[in-house]
């Protein structure tokens, strides 16, 4: 890393060199990765700890429904239904496939942007956003079903933990959809030229991360009994 910082292709006396060294286009960064991309990865590293905390909370509480009788006629801990009693695995599998497919469309959009196929990029981005919206729709459906079957947010510790974990993930997906929509809009206005195609890749990193988190949640929360 050390020797490549001094980029010999730049004349040190070149006025452009010193003038634009805050600008990120002329001066190669120390790591060779742009600030924006590195920043996104650093942020994603931090997000691991966040979802880790939420998943751990769910793990701790998942087998603690209420309704335990500590004395005749006296129960504590809220309702007796656990989230895992209501899981609809086939349905959740479909939404998981949807989110997985959105990762594919996202990466295809990034590749299209890298090849300067902007129309194709927008189509793939649109597909990604739609698949994400479909996933969110599935989650809304799942939540309403749970509530209808008597498992509300405040029912017991297990339900609170479940809704918080999946809700946080849902909020992340929603933010991702907004980012995708903004990217498409900016691209339509010509503000994402080929030289800035990396912006699409950075949005993609966030999107894939959300997908990766769902891979964890799907296994740890839904599938492992």
């Amino acid at each position: 890393m050390t020797d490549t910082i001094i980029d010999t292709s730049h004349d040190i006396d070149d006025p452009n060199f010193s003038e634009d060294s805050i600008g990120h286009t002329h001066l190669p960064t120390n790591t060779g990765v742009s600030n924006e991309k590195l920043g996104m990865w650093v942020f994603l590293g931090s997000e691991c700890l966040m979802f880790g905390g939420l998943i751990s909370t769910y793990m701790l509480y998942k087998n603690r429904p209420g309704g335990l009788e500590i004395a005749p006629g006296r129960t504590v801990g809220g309702g007796a239904t656990k989230p895992s009693d209501l899981f609809d695995i086939p349905f959740t599998s479909v939404t998981s496939f949807v989110l997985l497919a959105s990762s594919l469309t996202m990466v295809l959009a990034v590749n299209a942007a890298g090849r300067n196929h902007m129309d194709r990029m927008r189509i793939w981005l649109g597909a990604t956003a739609s698949l994400g919206a479909l996933f969110i729709g599935g989650q809304v459906y799942e939540f309403t079903t749970f509530v209808r079957e008597g498992l509300g947010y405040t029912t017991n510790t297990a339900s609170s933990a479940f809704f918080t974990l999946t809700g946080f993930h849902g909020v992340h997906v929603t933010i991702g959809i907004l980012m995708l929509v903004v990217t498409i809009a900016m691209s339509l206005r010509g503000r994402i030229p080929h030289s800035r195609a990396e912006a699409v890749e950075i949005v993609g990193l966030y999107w894939h991360f959300v997908d990766v988190v769902w891979i964890l949640i799907f296994t740890v929360v839904y599938l492992i009994k």
Binding site: G32, K37, S93, S96
Partner: protein, 147 residues
């Protein structure tokens, strides 16, 4: 070190060159789909396999995680520093939370031991408790601290 230096020779604009082709992505995607299908199928596997199933599920989860991170997120071909930062966070999260759950007696009999601490599986009493109080619900104070 070597990987960083190699990746640094790429400028900011030409990274598309070392990204895999669309075909690779489709292949990875179908592998992921197949794995997910296998994962889902474990739901209908016999109950007594649950220990093997759990291990298998975690292995498949890790493979899927790695595939998305390495291929879709380009960690395979990108600068080493990105891999380090991200996986450091990931490993730290796993280590810290497993330690925390361990300290909260999570791994001992999957939650039941925890319940014993919190007043749920309170040992059966000889004398019944007084009738339910009005609100707020009584706090069983002496059981909150220890386990």
């Amino acid at each position: 070190m070597a990987a960083v230096t190699a990746s640094e020779s790429h400028g900011a604009g030409d990274h598309a060159d070392h990204h895999p082709s669309d075909l690779t992505y489709w292949k990875v995607f179908f592998a992921l789909v197949a794995l997910t299908a296998l994962e889902v199928s474990t739901y209908w596997w016999p109950e007594e396999w649950h220990k093997v199933t759990a291990v298998l599920l975690i292995v498949m989860m890790l493979i899927k995680f790695g595939a998305v991170a390495m291929y879709f997120m380009h960690l395979k071909s990108d600068a080493l520093i990105l891999r380090r930062v991200f996986f450091f966070g990931m490993v730290l999260a796993v280590a810290v939370y497993i330690a925390a759950l361990g300290a909260m007696v999570f791994f001992h009999d999957s939650g039941n031991a925890v319940q014993g601490r919190t007043g749920f599986d309170y040992p059966p009493r000889e004398k019944p408790l007084p009738p339910p109080a009005t609100d707020p619900p009584p706090i069983i104070r002496e059981t909150t601290g220890g386990h």
